[in-house]
Symmetry: D2
Subunit: 296 residues, 4 copies
């Protein structure tokens, strides 16, 4: 009865709960930084990858606390931390970066990626035309390829096709995630250098976005927006000391999600946070107010 999570730190937790020991091939550490808690999980080898069901790589999760979206300063601080961690995962001074907004813009809790793209200062075409005016800016493109069910084309195929033509030095893929815990929703950001498989890797045909398929490093950034309701049900029963057969569970697997009541506003705010962090990491230290001015 597997709990659903996209966060490496929760995969580790689950492994520990299920096996009463740490997974081999996985290291992790926590750092408190003011209000923020940073957790770094490193999947070192195939053994660790099998234990966590995640590719080898670094997974950095920043818990921004419950109040990061309260005021301007909270947003600026949170974006600065995400920008710093993103910059550390990117190759140094990338000449050209392609940002990719995964997910379905017409489903509220899945629209993070496409909405984040609208907050990125796109410069690839402008810098080509006016190199001096954009001296301190990276060449950045931002596309939202849609989802398989809407386009009939694998997201990975679209991104692969674009990358083969424009040959970016790095790809930043933004996606909405699922967490196991409600208190992580819309307030934690996971960054990873191991790429991402759109649609959760279900089915044989799903094309991963990673260095192998795209020819350049792929940094994934995600924010958990939902808890799978079935996962919540399993966790609650366990915590309550009860038990629930799969067939008795009133929550159908995979059909129901738990979100904050104000998920619409929180998705927009989280998209802004990620977009701003990408701008700060790529465009020579812009402040939030400079970013807002450039976005218009």
């Amino acid at each position: 009865m597997k709990r659903r999570t996209d966060l490496a730190l929760e995969s580790r937790e689950l492994y520990q709960e299920d096996n009463q020991r740490e997974p081999e091939g996985v290291d992790w550490q926590e750092e408190q930084e003011g209000n923020l808690l940073l957790t770094r999980v490193y999947v070192r080898n195939q053994q660790g990858a099998a234990a966590l069901e995640k590719p080898v790589g670094a997974y950095i999760t920043a818990d921004l606390g419950p109040d990061w979206d309260r005021d301007f300063q909270g947003m600026e601080q949170a974006a600065a931390v995400v920008a710093r961690e993103l910059a550390a995962l990117l190759p140094p001074d990338p000449a050209c970066v392609l940002a990719v907004g995964l997910g379905n813009r017409r489903i509220t809790a899945d629209a993070l990626g496409p909405l984040a793209m609208e907050k990125i200062i796109v410069t690839r075409h402008l810098k080509d035309a006016m190199p001096e005016a954009f001296e301190n800016f990276a060449r950045v493109g931002a596309v939202s390829p849609g989802v398989l069910g809407v386009t009939g084309v694998e997201t990975g195929e679209i991104v692969q096709g674009v990358c083969r033509l424009i040959k970016p030095d790095a790809i930043i893929a933004v996606d909405a995630l699922a967490s196991r815990r409600m208190n992580r929703l819309c307030r934690t950001v996971q960054l990873s250098d191991s790429g991402i498989t759109p649609g959760g890797g279900v089915g044989p045909g799903r094309v991963a976005l990673d260095r192998d398929s795209l020819g350049a490093p792929v940094i994934a950034i995600g924010v958990p927006m939902v808890v799978d309701a079935w996962t919540l049900a399993m966790d609650l029963c366990q915590q309550a000391g009860g038990s629930l057969d799969s067939e008795d569970c009133p929550v159908p697997e995979g059909a129901m999600i738990v979100t904050p009541k104000d998920i619409d506003a929180l998705t927009r705010k989280s998209a802004k946070l990620i977009g701003y962090a990408v701008n700060m990491a790529l465009h020579g230290g812009l402040s939030v107010s400079e970013i807002e001015e450039l976005l218009g």
Copy 2:
């Protein structure tokens, strides 16, 4: 530890569970009608009202089954049943009806009311100008007053103000509801002749929409779009034979909701269903395709 529900049939269920007996002053009956299950709960007196925490009145719930939105025919059948039950609650041949879409259009799961208004054929101004062309149509208006947190004005005050001026013969108030059970979401419709209190009646200032405040009968139509996550947690623990103190429960009260994954599409479809049913009940037996043509 009170479970949250807006459905009278669930209030009755909860009373029965908690007290191991039927509430006094409440009658109910079920009828199967093809795929549909109709439940009629009648709160007969103040005793029944206290037991169910609902005003005296009739509460009809139609469970449309899981597939009502699959095809055109399913939608047409479901709308016809809701229209029939609505017509039975309305005064006969009302000259002027005001439909009111409650809820916040910018919150996905709360947008049912405003979206349903967009599917109602509005005729009040046209029938005044061209009485012959609209002979078979009622005079219908449809307003979406917004919510207190967005307008700073009680919804009840806005509707009361409008009703005092235009003096409708009946008011139809459409709102998104909360259910206790996931398997009722987006597939059951509750109609009631007892009015409705926008915002759930929280706080002393909330103005009810009912015959007293508006001077005409108020028929409420609602579709449950969410389960309160805390309510789900309590129910799950009970079912699993476990127990969970309020303080140990990982679900914060009132902050998290459970919805179907495709809540965006289901809200639009449910709004269409309600709007079509209102048109069928008021505008002399229009078919769904005639309605769609008139809506453009």
Copy 3:
């Protein structure tokens, strides 16, 4: 062959062109203020009202120049001027103000009013509950009543109904306007103390929003978003020294509009400007960044 305009300064211009003299009962003056040009037109009596086809009152138009939306500072300066002029038209220290967003939110060039409401900090309900926390704020409500064609109810009836109940000390009515001149679109703001008739006063039933109907002063704020294409055609022919019969004119009267190509973005920016100006006028000198923080 009457040109369509909602701006008093253009009505004066047209009178002057048509009659080769200034209208009686009308005074006007211009003031340059940095980049801004302020034009104040005063309709003093019924003679002036007949000449300009506008009610007696003051009409202040601020031309913000072509670049007001380029940067943060331009927006802040423009909002400050509009706020100052608005404050001068409002009664001193109004205890309760109702803002009304006129127009149809689903028509891009007509959505100014409803979009501006989303940028107003609504406090009426909060100040009642927490008077100390909102000491420096006015009690402000903001409603978007919709348009007659969508609701079947005269906008004036809805607003009148609400005002009779909540009895504001002043009403601020925001609406999209038509100008005769393209170079005024999305860069001029007209404020007036004479109220407004939603839907342009066409038809006998249209209810004006003014002191008579609402029981309190009504300040109208509008931004021209469109030029009527037929008006443009007439003006162009005249300027070109040609002539065009009504029946030869390829522009059907009333059916076509001229807008800037980026009308979608300009409507949003103009709505922000008006909303911010209302906040600055009513909520004790908030800055733009404080406003943005409070709006979240």
Copy 4:
């Protein structure tokens, strides 16, 4: 002083007006078909292409008349004609077709392409998984690549990248067009087998979508949504017998557009028309009501 148009039949008209003779290398004919007027323009060779500033190919324009969107039947007839003409331009029984929605979804008059994609029944992934269930359907994908100013990536590069991977047998590119005449807006459809250059081919870098770049035939479908206001001004002056220097013209070149007042609704309806026509052409003779049922 070149008038702006994307319609080949207007390019021919303009050539004829300017040169008082028909262009060489261009044939054309008109057919009345019930309420519809079909105009077929064939650019036969480079001489014709130079005269009309359009690539060699067939350009079929269907004028649907002013009332095609009034009722269900009008929509069905219009879609059937467009489907028939589209089928005639496509290769016979294409195994795999990629539809591409050009334009910016956030600009009302430019959103035709992306909105049309939402009305196409996408089957490429389903038919691969369930070949029998989709026996009568073509394999169809539908993507909306965005515009250069938003993504920083040439639309042509994105489409080229995707086509190289998925190798469709034909591409259908849908885009909003500009017409010279207001009475063609939102009621004419141009189909062409010569491809299309997104963004109007301005600038050296613009990548055309055509057989050369994509490796398969490209059928372009467009609906004129705007008249360039400057073009209207020039035409009006000429018609009125006047003259207007470029510098006296109050309409700035390229900045202002003329649209119907209800452009928001007309864009949605036109997108539906195109989407439905694509479905009828590709998916074995579906009716409009079957299409609506499948779209949900």
